[in-house]
């Protein structure tokens, strides 16, 4: 196997095993040697509502598609891997991915991949469901939320899954009561608190 093929495999492994989780999830990745004009990540089915990723040099406001397999190494350096970053199939720049960076990413503030079986959905979130979902559908909706919560937690970390869960519950509330009723309820509560 040639040196280039080894590097190619190495980069693919880094990207598949680590970046999918790490770079999408990480709110603050310290990677001074990485310079991306733009990056595209892709999930097959679900558009990512990713938190912004802040690199020291540049802020990437929006992440939509992921052609992770298109990030291929282009140099023969062994200590670090240079990958080509593509957006919509067009090359937009090179990124240097040192091996040590991948290890750093998996420390403290970045979620590691989690075993879905060990993820617990917050019970308090599910306690709202009897008020907003008809009894007939309650079990199915609760099961779906649990299943997806575990999947997201395993793929993108617990905090992302929590944000998704609360967002879904809020949308269920709006669907059940309507925005006007919710607004009137909040207004009444504020009036009561202010003694008006």
């Amino acid at each position: 196997m040639s040196n280039e093929e080894i590097i190619r495999q190495q980069a693919s492994r880094i990207i598949r095993d680590h970046w999918r989780t790490a770079s999408i999830r990480a709110p603050e990745i310290r990677a001074p040697r990485i310079r991306f004009p733009e990056i595209d990540f892709d999930t097959p089915a679900i558009p990512i509502r990713a938190p912004r990723i802040r690199f020291p040099e540049i802020e990437i406001p929006d992440i939509r598609t992921a052609e992770l397999d298109s990030l291929l190494p282009t140099t023969k350096a062994v200590a670090e891997t240079t990958v080509e970053v593509k957006r919509h199939g067009r090359s937009v720049g090179l990124a240097v991915v040192p091996e040590r960076f991948v290890r750093v990413v998996f420390l403290s503030n970045v979620a590691r991949p989690i075993d879905p079986a060990h993820v617990m959905i917050p019970e308090i979130g599910l306690k709202f469901l009897p008020f907003i979902v008809p009894k007939k559908l309650r079990d199915a909706v609760t099961g779906d939320l649990t299943e997806e919560f575990r999947t997201y937690a395993a793929r993108w970390g617990r905090s992302y899954a929590l944000r998704w869960l609360w967002w879904e519950l809020a949308r269920l509330c709006i669907r059940r009561f309507g925005p006007t009723a919710i607004g009137m309820g909040i207004a009444a509560w504020v009036r009561q608190k202010l003694g008006l």
Partner: protein, 108 residues
């Protein structure tokens, strides 16, 4: 929407059920629709639509077995019934007739 006509989202849900076959329950239906519509679809939107379609008689549902990955909650599977098939056929015929006379690939 009238009782026998389908909205765009309802069509999408029915077609997703058709594609998924016996594995059609909330989660895969939502993923299928999200992928095809190119936007996130909420759990509430799916179940509201499924409930409405069931009331219209277009789909029927049954409870599957409970699984550990769902916290011991059962899945509710859906299947298209004859009125649902007829409504889909009618919707397709309407779409075809609206596009009739325009060349393939004509700008929309």
């Amino acid at each position: 929407m009238g009782r026998d006509t389908l909205g765009e989202f309802e069509q999408g849900v029915l077609l997703a059920i058709l594609r998924l076959g016996p594995e059609a329950y909330g989660v895969p239906i939502r993923h299928d629709l999200s992928g095809r519509l190119g936007r996130a679809v909420s759990v509430g939107a799916i179940y509201t639509t499924l409930d409405r379609l069931e009331t219209k008689g277009f789909v029927s549902s049954w409870i599957g077995g409970a699984t550990a990955e769902r916290g011991g909650r059962a899945k509710r599977f859906y299947r298209i019934e004859d009125p649902g098939h007829r409504a889909l056929d009618a919707a397709r015929a309407v779409t075809r007739s609206l596009w009739a006379g325009l060349p393939e690939g004509a700008p929309a």
